[in-house]
Subunit: 400 residues, 2 copies
Amino acid sequence: MTTPPDVLDAADPLAAFRDRFVIDDDLVAYLDGNSLGRLPRATVDRLGAFVREEWGSRLIRGWDDAWVDLPVTVGDELGEALLGAAAGRTVIADSTSVNLYKLLHAAIGARPDRDEIVIDATNFPTDRYLVESVAAARGLTVRWLRPDLVDNVTVDALADVLGARTAVVVLSQVDYRSGTLVDLPAVTRLVHEHGAVIVWDLCHSVGVMPIALDSADVDFAVGCTYKYLNSGPGAPAFLYVAERHLSAVTQPIAGWWSASDLFAMSETYEVAPTIRRMLSGTPSVAGIVAVQEGVRLIAEAGVDAIRAKSEALTAYTVELLDDAGLEIVTPREPASRGSHVTVRAPEARRVADAMIERGVVPDFREPDLIRLGLSPLSTSFAEVEAGVRILVDCVGGTRR
Amino acid sequence: MTTPPDVLDAADPLAAFRDRFVIDDDLVAYLDGNSLGRLPRATVDRLGAFVREEWGSRLIRGWDDAWVDLPVTVGDELGEALLGAAAGRTVIADSTSVNLYKLLHAAIGARPDRDEIVIDATNFPTDRYLVESVAAARGLTVRWLRPDLVDNVTVDALADVLGARTAVVVLSQVDYRSGTLVDLPAVTRLVHEHGAVIVWDLCHSVGVMPIALDSADVDFAVGCTYKYLNSGPGAPAFLYVAERHLSAVTQPIAGWWSASDLFAMSETYEVAPTIRRMLSGTPSVAGIVAVQEGVRLIAEAGVDAIRAKSEALTAYTVELLDDAGLEIVTPREPASRGSHVTVRAPEARRVADAMIERGVVPDFREPDLIRLGLSPLSTSFAEVEAGVRILVDCVGGTRR
């Protein structure tokens, strides 16, 4: 017999954070915060004030005021609170895809005498597509890791493909489909033992667990802000470069924002000596402002407390799904998963559509997966219970 | 004796559009709309509604609703109203720098047997930096056009450097410093006569004059939306690809948004057959929404009426500056300039700072230039008169 959800909500130390978000009463349960996070109330006010007071009134003077430094100052806030990164190693700009593209070139440039790049075949499409195209452009061979969907990318499996030719390894800390959590410090160590560098994709882990990039000696990392960072659809992504790479790192999109003096507009390109060298063109100021609000909410709650609630939410979800006899593809050990739980169901698309009809928003992933995203600051246990109940109902319905 | 500005404002058929913008009474004159355009009132409402109702309430379902198509649908609106481009040739996403980077690779790919790229040395820094770095990466040689600041990039001057080795020519339609307007159809024809392709940077021309990319047979074009399109700091840029290039065009940042089916997340990358192939990662939805509002304002006024007022504003500015004996670097023929007028002044930085102290915002450009940006929908003749009067005062002050 599972604990009633209201008991769990009453005991949740983060329960009050739910009121910090816009919660639509028309929805029974929003279980897709790992695709697009809910809207923080503070962001509504902040964006309104930004538009009226900063853009509308300061106009171009806003660039002198603070806008020019925002990619770095908000990057520092994000890095320190969420990534375990000291100041000066994180910037916010562009999309995850564009940032990953830059980091792939940067990482290849850091190992010029090697010619293989390793990625798992279950990685997110953009990661796979970019690795293939950048490898082709730079003359590298792609070595595919082919774990089962539910496998962790174990140190052992990875060890089999790493060697003296390995330049770069690209992995996601949390698998976007199964929710499998990879052991970031152990994998990073292994990659370094083979003399290669690692690029971590943190899209499905940033903001829901403690991450310690500096202390794990990570080389490069990238992640998005519209999931657990609640920064809005298409909000700018972040990238991280370890301090030891900063002075030599290169990226191919050399624009005026990566130049040493943005407004000197000098005749010859001199690259910025700082993390700004990873920028290219003008980033979305409103987007970065929204990221700042998202980061501050997480920093206020604390990533340790958030991870504790994330584990409780996924454990509760697993318990409810087990009771109903549904097939779970997410690892059953809390320590081995991120903050979403994935169900395999026949006719998954029809099930997902039926759930949405009834006010529960999950995420469908081809061909037969339903993801339940649990965003610790805005998802209640009551919401999970109601959502899973309707999921079970809809699966039953399609079986009839 | 110049006409009094109130007479000019009274006769201005676009005068009423000024009320469609947030006008800060603390400013005597905002003459920097060519760096960052003023905030349209409709955009305040639209962004507020977007945040509360679309992001806050529709949440992930917004992607199904319309967000996924916005880069193309708003691109089409922009293309048809502002660029003379049929549907399916324009997309909105990323920054101008990232888009230019993609187009440079696309253009080089369209002329694989040639090895020179031509750009003028007075072009905007991002254009020059990107041309140099992409040329180096792709093994091309950069041929520099070196016009004087005030020269038009004439068909004759360009003809001297074009030849059988020319793959790509990169030019700005309006020079960001002098305001010089290049003859886009004539230059495009000349480039084609030499078998090369052209990439036009429209940052300082889009929205203030009629542009006819399709009928001029332009190959590629890029431009920003935060100047005369009033879409806010760091709003996403646009890019245009001629229909004849679409089926074969390639760009290096192959992300999930350039794949043929965004949500199939298939194992192998299959590039979209449409203009979507120029996308990469998730674009800023709020940014595109703001672009749509900016485009609609311009479409409502009409680019021909806007160009007529732009010419009247620059002519009036030139007249006032002549009366005061200031040195103008912008061409004196209205047909040869865009919508800003640039003054050369000793101690230009100090002059610009003094102007800002007195409530007039111009734009300083190294080493001795002051740009007066005239945004036809939001700039009044009275504002120009007051702004130039204070400029003249401040120049006098520094001469004492």
